[in-house]
């Protein structure tokens, strides 16, 4: 049985402007970074399906 507690106050998320600045900043990445990402993407597609499951009676992650 859970113990009910007093909910904390509301939270404010990051502003869209701040997140936009962060998203745009990755344009400064080294050119070679993308090649490594593509390699790992292809490896994950070629490999077995890694399945994560929560709450099932068996095969939980």
């Amino acid at each position: 049985m859970s113990t009910t507690m007093t909910p904390p106050p509301t939270v404010v998320g990051m502003s869209t402007d701040a997140l936009s600045t962060i998203v745009a900043a990755v344009q400064g990445d080294p050119v070679s970074l993308a090649a490594g990402i593509r390699r790992r993407v292809e490896q994950s597609r070629q490999g077995t399906h890694v399945q994560m499951m929560g709450g099932w009676t068996d095969n939980d992650a």
Binding site: D29, A35, H49, M52, G54, T57
Partner: protein
């Protein structure tokens, strides 16, 4: 110390980098990130992602048929029964309410779900729960049983973060071993949620990581069920995974160290999780270039 894997800036940077790697183009701003990600993952999976929102389908839909054909989530789809119109309408309404509930609890956990979850297959299966897989980014399978809105919400965040961890793994590389190697006994570690059980290391890491926002969501709601249930096992899982540090890349070790440090807090500091999720202070992670 932060918990990078929960930070919306860190997640967004990873998504932007994946988009660029796949398309050659960078998303120009935050509103462009979601549509760009959906275009990128549409090239990685058999069915495209729509431009926005969560597309729902059921046991007779194209995703269910694809998963059955490819033997993905076999035990889930093998045990499904037919769902009728009223049931599906109720599921649709609950998913929409759950998304709203997530945004109310945490706007940036809500943004994470908006970015990462594109399709949900809802079914009546033999047991209740959710699932996602690294080869089908954006897809979540859900069997809700008699869940209420908070449980739908927890499932969306749970599976959404799994898919986010898959993205982070593709972009930054978390492990030195392939999943098949981590299935072996010598690479298993305690699960934070299947208490006392050893799981493949990558599964143990995922289980521990997704336990954090679930405990956080319940804390935000004023409920301590999962906090009471998982605090000790999360600590034990982190300590056990640290014995396998060699199997994590430097990036993976960073994530593990951050989560482990937070998990040792007494009591667990959920105000800090609020900051971890939304602070821009931990943006700007620069990965090592690996060949």
């Amino acid at each position: 110390m932060t918990v990078h894997f929960l930070n919306i800036a860190h997640i967004s940077e990873a998504i932007a980098r994946l988009v660029h790697a796949q398309s050659g183009e960078y998303p120009q701003d935050a509103p462009a990130l979601g549509p760009a990600y959906r275009r990128a993952i549409s090239g990685l999976r058999p069915l495209p992602a729509k431009g926005e929102g969560i597309t729902l389908s059921y046991e007779d839909g194209p995703w269910a048929r694809y998963c059955e054909t490819e033997s993905i989530f076999e035990h889930i789809f093998a045990g499904t029964t037919h769902s009728d119109g009223p049931t599906r309408e109720q599921w649709d309404a609950m998913v929409r309410r759950a998304v709203q509930h997530i945004h109310e609890l945490s706007p940036d956990l809500g943004l994470m779900v908006d970015l990462l979850v594109t399709d949900v297959v809802v079914v009546n299966s033999r047991s209740d729960g959710g699932g996602s897989t690294n080869t089908l980014p954006g897809l979540v399978v859900m069997s809700p049983g008699d869940w209420d809105v908070p449980e739908y919400a927890e499932c969306l965040v749970h599976e959404g973060l799994h898919t986010g961890l898959f993205v982070m793994d593709m972009v930054y590389d978390m492990f030195n071993l392939p999943p098949s190697e981590m299935e072996k006994d010598e690479h298993r570690a305690l699960s934070a949620v299947k208490i006392g059980q050893k799981r493949p290391l990558h599964a143990a890491f995922h289980a521990a990581a997704v336990a954090v926002p679930l405990m956080y969501m319940q804390h935000r709601r004023g409920v301590d069920t999962l906090v009471s249930k998982y605090t000790t096992s999360l600590r034990a899982a982190c300590r056990d995974m640290k014995a396998h540090r060699h199997a994590f890349t430097p990036y993976g070790q960073m994530l593990l160290a951050e989560m482990s440090e937070w998990a040792e807090g007494e009591p667990l500091d959920f105000d800090y999780v609020t900051r971890c999720i939304s602070s821009p202070d931990w943006a700007g992670f620069v990965p090592a270039v690996t060949t």
